[in-house]
């Protein structure tokens, strides 16, 4: 079987459509017959990736590759990059503005939640550069 690829553009600060890409990914996986525990992990990871791109970046993309034995998620943005990845990975640490926090975002749980859902997790970023997060979930 060939793998199946999905790709979504995410606009910066587009809160009105937030969650749309992850909802569409979830629907697609359900149609493909992926088991619900795996779908749940992919849904959480892609939702957090989508929100991170909307809240913190200049915009980006989320790609999902579905293979027989695994699902790969690639979230990429166009910057401005994370200054301190170690801090960003800590639960409760957030650089979100108070405005965003009032909406219930910016809990500092985004990257930790993504990592928790992943069997393999990698993040590449530095100040002034794009951020790239790759996740593999075995099914």
């Amino acid at each position: 079987m060939n793998n199946i690829q999905l790709s979504y553009n995410i606009e910066r600060r587009d809160f009105s459509r937030a969650g749309e890409a992850s909802s569409n990914i979830k629907k697609a996986l359900r149609q493909l017959g992926v088991n619900s525990a795996t779908i749940r992990r992919v849904a959480v990871a892609t939702y957090e990736a989508e929100m991170n791109i909307i809240i913190h970046s200049e915009g980006g993309t989320i790609g999902v590759t579905v293979d027989v034995d695994k699902i790969r998620i690639d979230a990429k943005d166009t910057g401005p990059g994370i200054e301190n990845i170690e801090m960003a990975m800590k639960e409760g640490y957030s650089t979100a503005t108070s405005e965003v926090r009032e909406l219930g975002f910016g809990a500092g749980m985004g990257l930790p939640n993504m990592k928790r859902c992943a069997d393999e997790f990698s993040i590449e970023s530095s100040k002034g550069n794009p951020t790239k997060v790759s996740i593999i979930i075995y099914q």
């Binding site: 749309e20 619900s36 749940r40 849904a43 959480v44 939702y47 957090e48 909406l103 219930g104 939640n113």
Partner: protein, 112 residues
């Protein structure tokens, strides 16, 4: 317990998404931090939150909540109502606080 039975038992105001009233309720989750909800809401949970902007519908859908209850009669954004109707997820409201709602749900159901 089904969402429609909960609506009746607690006299909840139906704001949107009534088509989803036959969903089974598995428990209750209360939080306003969306990432926290994403990580911890269990499928079939009633989700009680004071957040009423449109993104709560996406979180409820992704987390597979049975319904959402907005406590304390809080105002709800128009596009949230539209989205909940579109996605057929019950959006309910009550004058009670989240705590009072939780107590009433426990009384009305056999949920732990």
């Amino acid at each position: 317990m089904l969402v429609k039975e909960l609506i009746q038992a607690l006299d909840l105001e139906v704001i949107a998404g009534i088509e989803g009233e036959d969903r089974e309720i598995t428990g209750v989750y209360i939080s306003d931090l969306l990432s926290w909800v994403m990580a911890n809401l269990q499928a079939g949970n009633v989700w009680i939150t004071i957040q009423t902007h449109v993104n709560v519908v996406a979180v409820a859908l992704l987390g597979e909540a049975s319904c959402m209850i907005i406590p304390e009669g809080a105002e709800i954004d128009e596009n949230t109502i539209e989205k909940a109707n579109q996605e057929k997820i019950p959006l309910l409201r009550s004058k009670l606080t989240a705590y009072q709602l939780a107590l009433k749900i426990k009384e009305a159901s056999n949920l732990k």
